[in-house]
């Protein structure tokens, strides 16, 4: 299986919506 690791997640806001069955990404949201 492929894995998106934490190095590539840096500076992205990663949003887990388990109930909504979706996952989101936002750039420029962290600092």
């Amino acid at each position: 299986i492929g894995i998106v690791g934490n190095t590539q997640q840096q500076t992205l806001q990663v949003v887990y919506d388990g109930a909504g069955g979706r996952i989101g990404f936002a750039t420029g949201a962290c600092s």
Partner: protein, 423 residues
């Protein structure tokens, strides 16, 4: 020192990176902006200067060690996906001799949050991990073994809200899916066990306790592992905070309040900080773009996502989307380096190398095979990389996420390939 050349095409499709920014500072420079502080925890890199654990400098792993441990984590994820849940029973004697083949995941390039446990509450620095489910911490009296941790070890006897879980309870039975191991029983108390791909493990009493995430958010009867036999590469942390999808994970246990909704920003360097926020009120950027969560066969607790393509320097790689769907993909806060199907990685690497021919190559760093010597440059130009997910979601990877620096003379493409396209 030379600077990166710049023309309009490069400005559009490449990052200009100041070489000095590739290495973390030795002092902490907090920068995270949690939109709602009430439901947010500070996130720091376990071995960076913003972490209390950083003071134990003697135990900080080298980058090569981090990458080797990361490979052990990935192997353990693959192993976990390839076996049936509950295929091994927990036994403390066995746990000490576990081969590096089975179990869940740990790793060393991990991020730390501090939560409160018990009454009165005690602060514990836990590795937060979307790739595992059960939350555990080391517990007194450490009947068999505890590794060295920075915080005082949690003492159940000093908490008025602690109690063990019975062997016959449904909560005890649910450990099988959360840990991959059938629970044990000792004097009617439920015994959990979780082991990791690098032979790290934790075994102890499955218990319930008051968990305090933020000053306003407390959860009674939170189910967690009270570890009596803990060994491995936990780097001074007090244990793990499991953020996976299983019913015993923290998002599931707090679903009545947070609706399984959380977000995080990881620090952009080991000398900065980030946040972990729970609930819709935790603050989500208006620019967020969503893709559908998928389920991974035999790994339902992982967060699956569907990659449809990758671009390098503005050019989409000519690889079939089916290449990604054959094996599937998960997102994991505890894996350091992104792993791709080997055919996809080969295409990414080839395109990246073609666009980096002006820079001298350097020796490989463990699993990273495309490295450069930037010691003669003050700034460099590297191609932009984007991931595309189902639903047409393009996620540009920050320059910090494209390179992994061991030193200025050894800066590597921060991606690696799996061994087989069907992995």
């Amino acid at each position: 020192r030379r600077e990166a050349p710049a023309d309009s095409h490069q400005l559009q499709h490449s990052h200009t990176v100041h070489v000095s920014s590739l290495l973390p500072s030795s002092v902490c420079s907090p920068s995270a902006k949690a939109l709602d502080k009430k439901s947010s925890l500070q996130v720091v890199h376990k071995h960076g200067p913003c972490s209390q654990l950083h003071q134990d400098k003697a135990n900080i792993p080298t980058h090569a060690e981090v990458l080797l441990q990361d490979e052990a984590r990935v192997k353990s994820i693959h192993s976990r996906l390839g076996r049936k849940p509950g295929s091994s029973d927990v036994d403390e004697t066995d746990a000490a001799q576990l081969p590096a083949k089975d179990g869940s995941v740990v790793g060393s390039g991990n991020y730390i949050v501090t939560v409160g446990l018990g009454t009165p509450k005690k602060g514990l620095s836990l590795v937060f991990d979307t790739g595992s489910d059960i939350t555990w911490t080391q517990c007194q009296p450490c009947a068999k073994s505890c590794y060295k941790q920075r915080d005082p070890i949690f003492a159940p006897s000093q908490s008025s809200t602690y109690s063990n879980i019975s062997c016959t309870s449904t909560a005890c039975s649910s450990l099988t899916s959360a840990t991959g191991n059938s629970p044990g029983c000792a004097s009617s108390a439920c015994v959990y066990g979780i082991q990791y791909g690098d032979s790290s493990f934790s075994v102890g009493f499955f218990a319930k306790e008051k968990l305090t995430l933020t000053p306003t958010d407390e959860f009674d009867n939170f189910l967690f592992g009270c570890g009596q036999n803990n060994q491995g590469l936990f780097g001074g942390s007090a244990g793990l905070l499991g953020l996976g999808r299983d019913q015993l994970s923290l998002p599931s246990q707090t679903a009545s309040k947070y609706k399984k909704f959380f977000s995080y920003c990881l620090p952009s360097s080991a000398s900065s900080d980030g946040f972990l926020a729970f609930g819709y009120g935790g603050g989500v950027s208006k620019s967020v773009k969503f893709t559908t969560l998928s389920t991974v066969s035999q790994g339902e607790s992982f967060y699956g996502i569907d990659i449809t393509g990758i671009s390098v320097g503005g050019q989409k790689l000519s690889i079939s989307a089916s290449l990604f769907t054959t094996a599937g993909t998960i997102i994991d806060s505890g894996t350091v380096i992104t792993r791709l199907p080997p055919t996809a990685y080969a295409a990414l690497r080839s395109s990246f190398r073609q666009k980096m021919t002006q820079y001298p190559r350097a020796q490989a760093l463990a699993i990273l095979d495309t490295c450069y010597d930037f010691s003669k440059y003050s700034s460099v130009s590297i191609p932009k990389i984007s991931f595309f997910f189902s639903g047409g979601v393009e996620v540009p990877i920050d320059a910090k996420g494209i390179l992994y620096a061991n030193s200025i003379s050894q800066v590597c493409l921060a991606f690696a390939g799996n061994s087989d396209d069907t992995d």
